[in-house]
Symmetry: C2
Subunit: 339 residues, 2 copies
Amino acid sequence: MPDKKISIRDIAEKSGVSVATVSRVINQNGRYSAETEARVRQIMEEYNYVPNLLARGLRQQQVPEIGIIVPDITNEFFGRLVVQIESELFEHGYTLTICNTNEDRMIERRYLEMIRAKQMCGLIRISHEHLREEELIDIPTVYLDRIPENIKYTGQCISVESDHEQGGYIATKELIKQGCRNVGIVLHDAEISTKAHEMRYIGYKRALEEANIEFDVKKVIRVKRADCQNGGRAALEFIERRGLPDGLFCTSDLLAVGALDEFLKHGVNVPRQVRIVGYDNISLAKMMMIPITTISHPEHTMVDITCRYFLSAFAKEESELQKKKRIVLPVELIKRETA
Amino acid sequence: MPDKKISIRDIAEKSGVSVATVSRVINQNGRYSAETEARVRQIMEEYNYVPNLLARGLRQQQVPEIGIIVPDITNEFFGRLVVQIESELFEHGYTLTICNTNEDRMIERRYLEMIRAKQMCGLIRISHEHLREEELIDIPTVYLDRIPENIKYTGQCISVESDHEQGGYIATKELIKQGCRNVGIVLHDAEISTKAHEMRYIGYKRALEEANIEFDVKKVIRVKRADCQNGGRAALEFIERRGLPDGLFCTSDLLAVGALDEFLKHGVNVPRQVRIVGYDNISLAKMMMIPITTISHPEHTMVDITCRYFLSAFAKEESELQKKKRIVLPVELIKRETA
DNA sequence: AGTATATGGGTAAAGGATTACTCATGAGAA
DNA sequence: TTCTCATGAGTAATCCTTTACCCATATACT
C-alpha cells in the first residue's frame, strides 16, 4: 500500500531542491541540470510520487480531459466510436470522460454542468438536444453523428456526420442493380428527433425515381422502434397482406435481422425471392446464417476528424477543420449475401 | 455563451456576503439566514455560477468519482454492467470514470496512476492483472467478475463474481435432463488468465459424473477465441470427424451461435438431433432463428452489491459487505428453444 | 443584572502545483 | 577589468474552495 500522501513539497525537501525545480523536472521545462534531474527522479520513484492533477488543473485553469455525451454506450456503434476516440486521445495525453445519458435530457444537462465544473477542455456531443444559451460551454466542441436541428456554428465547434441520404440512395440502388423492381422499405419512424432515417428514406425515393420505378406507399412500413421484433412483424405484414417485394431496404440492421429470420421461417428464399439491404453494419449482420448486405458508417474517419480537430484546437493551430464547420462523410456499401 | 469565469469570490462580492457564507449556502451547511440564502442563490443563478470541482477536490483531498477498469466496453456484458453502475452512482452524486484497457496491462497501469492522481474515491477493477504493492491504491475497491488469481483481501476491498462452476453444472444438467447421454463441450481455452471457462468445464464434468455418464475427451473441443467462427469450426469438427453429440454445452454464447448456424447449414436439426446450451445471455442469443438456451449472469445483483459497497464505505458504515470479502453469486438458466 | 448559549457571518489558512520574477554564478566579449 | 548573457535554481503569488476559529448580537436562564 502506498505511503501517506506525498506532495511536491516533500519531494523537493527530500531531494534538497525547491518545489519549482521539481515542478520543472516533472514538466520537463528545462532550467535544471542533469544531476538535479536524476536526483529528483530517483526520489520521486522511491516515494512512488504521483502529481496531484487537481492542483495542476486548478492552477492551469484546465484539465486535459474531454467529455463525451452519448445516448447509450451499449449501442454497438456508439460503443465503438467511444472506444476508438478514447484510445486515440489517451495516446495524446487526454482523458475521455463518458457521459451516458440514456437519452434523458435532464441527465445530459447535469453532465454538461459537471463538465464545466471540472474545467474540462473539450466536449463531444452525440445528442439532438438543443441547448439554451447559458447551457453552452465555451470549449472546443464536436457534434458527432447526431446533430441538433437548429445548430448554430458559433464559437469553437464543428459537426461530423455521415450522409444518410446517400446511404439510402446507394442501398436502394444496389437492390435495383440486382434486378429488383418492386422495392420495399422498413423505416424506423423516429418521431422525436433523429432525422437520419428520414434522410435514408429520401435517398430511397431518389434511387427509385432515378430508375423510373414508381413510388408506392404500400411498400413503406414504418415502425416505432428499430429492433428485431419490428423487423419480423414488417416481414410478416409483407408476407400475409401486402405481398412480397423483391427487394427490401431496412433503415437499420436490427430490422433487417428480424425480417430475414421471419422470411426464412416462412420459407421465403433470401436472396432469391427477396433481397435485403440493412444499415449500420452491426456485427450481428455478418453473423447471421445468411450474412446481411448493409451500409457502413465512416466510423474511422469520424473518429479521426474528431481527434484531429481537438488536437489542432488545443495547439491553437488554425487548421482547415476549423473553417469547414459542417462535415458530411460518405458511407459505404458492404456487399454480403442478402443482396 | 457563459460570461468569463465566475468564482465564489465574485458571487460573494455581488451578494454582499463573505465567501464563507456563499460556500455554506452551496453546501447547505447551515449558519446562514433564509434571506441570505435567497440572495446568494439568486446571484448564483443570475451569473450562471458553477463551483469549481477541482478546487473543492483539492481542498477536500477527494473527489466523488469512481474509476472502473474494464477490458472492453464494447463487450455487451461489460457495457451493461458499466451503464448500470454509472447510472446508479450518478444518482448518489458520484461520477464513474470508464477506463477501457483493451486488455492491455500497460494501459491499465497508466489508468491506475491517473485514478490516483485525480484523487478518486473508489475503484472497480474488471481485470485479472496482478498488481505490485506500490501500484495498489488505498481506496475502497471492488474486484468485479474477473478476479486476480492471488488476490489478497487486505485493505478496503471486496470481490464480486458469479459461480462459473455452478453455471457449467446446471447447463450440462439441463441437457442431461432433456435426455442427452452424449454431451459434448466447446470450451474457450483462455490460456493467460481467466479461470472462468475452466470452472465451467469442471461443472460440466461434475454433472456428467453425477449422472453416471462416462467422461470422454473426444467430446471436448478447445478453441483459442470465443467467437462465431470457432463455434462453427467446432460444430464442423463434430459433424465431419468426431461424430454428432446429442447435446452440446458451449462455454460462451458466441460459440453457441456459430455452432448453431453451422449445424443448421448442414441440415442438422436443433434441438431434435443436437441440443445446445450457451453461456452469458448475450442479446444475440435470443435473436437467432432458433433462440438459444443459455446461462445468465446475476448482472443486476453484481451491480447492486458493487454500488451498495461503495455507498456504505463512503458513509463509513460497517456493513455486512465489508466483512464478507469474497462474494460468489448464483447464475440462472434461461430456457429457450435449443435445449 | 450577569452569565451562558445560539445564531449569523467574517477572516484567513490550508490544499498542491505552476510560473513570473529574482538572483547568483560563471563564461565570453570588449 | 568590466559588462553581458546564459544557466540553474529559489521565492512567493496564484488558482478556487472549504473550514477551523473568531466575533458580534440577541435571547434565555439564574
